[in-house]
Subunit: 351 residues, 2 copies
Amino acid sequence: MDQSGNVQHSQPYNKRRGKQSIQFENPVYINASASIVGKKEGEGPLADLFDMVGEDDLFGCNTWEEAESSLQKDAVYLAMGKAKLDSGNVQYLFAGDLLGQSMATSFGMTAYEIPLFGLYGACSTCGESLSLGAMAVDGGFASCVVCVTSSHFASAEKEFRYPLEYGSQRPLSASWTVTGSGAFVLGSTRGENVQAAITGITTGKIVDYGLKDSMNMGCCMAPAACDVIYRNFIDFGRQPEDYDRIITGDLGSVGQRALIDLLAEKGYDISGNHMDCGMEIYDAAKQDTHAGGSGCGCAAVTLAAYVLKQLQEKRWKRVLFVPTGALLSKTSFNEGKTVPGIAHGVVIENI
Amino acid sequence: MDQSGNVQHSQPYNKRRGKQSIQFENPVYINASASIVGKKEGEGPLADLFDMVGEDDLFGCNTWEEAESSLQKDAVYLAMGKAKLDSGNVQYLFAGDLLGQSMATSFGMTAYEIPLFGLYGACSTCGESLSLGAMAVDGGFASCVVCVTSSHFASAEKEFRYPLEYGSQRPLSASWTVTGSGAFVLGSTRGENVQAAITGITTGKIVDYGLKDSMNMGCCMAPAACDVIYRNFIDFGRQPEDYDRIITGDLGSVGQRALIDLLAEKGYDISGNHMDCGMEIYDAAKQDTHAGGSGCGCAAVTLAAYVLKQLQEKRWKRVLFVPTGALLSKTSFNEGKTVPGIAHGVVIENI
């Protein structure tokens, strides 16, 4: 407050940092998280860390889309349970997925009867949901919100590419859509099982380098990731080493090289502490996933199952979590459009 | 602040009203708005009020999707111009459309290089964007944001129904997707051409009555509209007559009857002051639009071209603006799913 006793938070420059970032006035606590994945993810390097692994990818449903809805529903249920909350305690849901008209969210969230903000940022949606959820909490609009995103290999292949039955060949630059959903309970007060806190965000703009190869989404998204990470360094006056890890969502092995090169051109070397969720979730050689995992489930389940545990157990102090999205659709692909990228940065710390 | 001098805004109950609503601490000013529509809308009852009317629905582009992107781009450009701003002054874009993976937004907003939050709430997206945009401003995260949504008859028919060339017959309960885009400049300070202010919001949850008729979306959405309007009355302790108009997005003539009946069952009569944007934008009899207009462009252009002018010119004091969305996709329709609805309420006043 100022001398006249007026609350100053309605003056934006209090919270804004530089051109694209926000430093929250109070830490927004991640009081619980949950991750559910499919069979293939359950056979990968992070297998033991997920809360639930499906025996098959239908999860007892009749269609791939219903299966993805049930992933979201169950992830939210598990996360609320860990935080000892029920849907009556949650004031907003911030949710999204990759399907046309966000159908996994629409049919997965209905039963909770919680006011919902539907989001679409392709595979960056996890970062978008955490950003808006944290703004809702820090802005004094909610004491508790849940953020959830999902993807499903089969529903995504059907949505973006070819029916699985075609057995299409995939180039080595292609990624494998993660079957999974991650949910996060954010609160204004510290929960007893608090995992970490969101202290700031750097919100991305659409970046289009004119690339059109939907089988190399890592390179399509790398410029957007570079832009957000660079802005985060500038806006907060930080260097790569101020983060224990700089964690992109699903650039994969090809996109990672592009990102490291692009940031090197701007004078920043993140080769020592960059991590990509898509490269962590599968053993690319053994599991034939080529460049790595992708999908808004990829960053979400890796954050919930692996990253937050490192922060909670104090192995890491601060990370920059940067889910990355490739903005394309079947129609835009068929009309020969480019594949622009977007990324959303979230600063997460152990406190 | 409390006696200890602590700023209390981080305690949610300051701003929250009831279960689903927010009363903003300061009015969020709508400092400018713009509307662009297609040929058919330019021949309707609101023709003279739109900022721009296309000579044809391609707007000089090669595809319907590119045309919709250009609608969004031009609407934002016009709105920023009226507010004497350029993209450097705008801290966030809150944008969305009806297309799979929100392609109209992805290709329409790239050039502005403004941090973007992509949204999906079907035809309720205009209300969702104004709600989140107002939260960003009132929460102290931005001094200026732009909210934009669009729809296009031809791109929507292709996305949800059949190629236009099929000449499919449409039942009288069907609506006609509006070709248009509306953009709104929200600010924490009062602009010289301020039109009105957002003073509160009531955020909707997904409501599914089990209806499956995608050619009668008005009835699919009416329960969600009823729920939000009812919650708004309860949360703010208001009666229908506290609003000069209660304005739904695109229920059309069939959905309007359902909404009025549903609210009557809850003891509220809105028959005297209910207005539906879908019924205002076309002359249904002369223009063969059956139940009325729909699409996220419908509520957006009607708000920009008509509703805000009534508030700015003090003919109305306060309205409850409730864009309504039907949550379906080609896939969900083909898989025999229901059509749940969602609606987002925004309280707009002349001040």
